[in-house]
């Protein structure tokens, strides 16, 4: 029982240290993800499953009322990036 408590305490301390580690904003993590998803020579597939976006009512230019809407996405799209050479010698 004592061992278990010690193990739990050590594990909690480990997580605690990590939590206390300085630096770093979530924006940087997001940057990493975007870098990865837009990297060179990459093929990224986004698979949307029953994806729904509620667009709320809004007031447009000149006070025009814009009604609400629901957008639905189902299916996948693949984004492929390719690195191509750009040589100044080629005319």
């Amino acid at each position: 029982m004592e061992n278990l408590r010690n193990e739990a305490s050590e594990a909690a301390n480990y997580v605690g240290k990590k939590v206390e580690e300085s630096g770093s904003q979530w924006a940087d993590i997001l940057k990493e993800v975007v870098d990865k998803l837009t990297g060179k020579n990459m093929e990224v597939t986004y698979n949307f499953q029953n994806f729904e976006i509620d667009i709320p009512k809004a007031t447009g230019p000149e006070g025009k009322e814009l009604g609400s809407a629901k957008w639905r996405l189902d299916g996948k799209f693949t984004l492929t990036t390719q690195l191509s050479n750009k040589s100044p010698n080629i005319e």
């Binding site: 739990a8 301390n13 904003q25 870098d35 990865k36 990459m42 698979n47 729904e52």
Partner: protein, 139 residues
């Protein structure tokens, strides 16, 4: 209100109006899935390399962001939202409204973060570090 809080607030509002699931595959391999269920967002990390391959010196891992997670957890709670982070389908961390911290309160010093599995959080951190080391070696 500071810009970071404003951003999280706006993001929370947008997420509330979206429902469904997105699965992201890189080179035919699933790396991430995001499920949006109104007040609940489930982020499943299948391949942690997505967080650690940028070639910048300021590149950071998931764990390094946990300090900010405290603030994120508090904001999500105030918006009535919960973010669950899974590693390969297994629960690792919960932030926000439904977080029920027990032992983790002692280390995170907030009621808005629940460590569901120390094992999975540790593994997730190791996954990220492993990929970052590999990237540094190859560059």
């Amino acid at each position: 209100m500071d810009p970071e809080t404003r951003t999280v607030n706006t993001l929370a509002e947008i997420l509330k109006s979206v429902q469904g699931k997105i699965i992201i595959d890189v080179q035919d391999k699933q790396v991430l899935s995001v499920s949006l269920e109104g007040n609940r967002v489930v982020l499943d990390v299948s391949d942690a390399s997505i967080f650690g391959t940028a070639e910048s010196d300021s590149s950071i891992g998931l764990f390094d962001g946990l300090k900010t997670a405290k603030k994120l957890g508090e904001t999500l709670n105030s918006k009535g939202m919960t973010l669950s982070i899974l590693r390969k389908g297994k629960k690792a961390l919960s932030l926000g409204r439904d977080a029920k911290p027990t032992l983790s309160t002692l280390v995170t010093r907030t009621d808005d973060i629940q460590v569901d599995s120390v094992r999975q959080v540790t593994k997730l951190g190791k996954d990220v570090k492993k990929h970052r080391k590999r990237t540094k070696k190859s560059s």
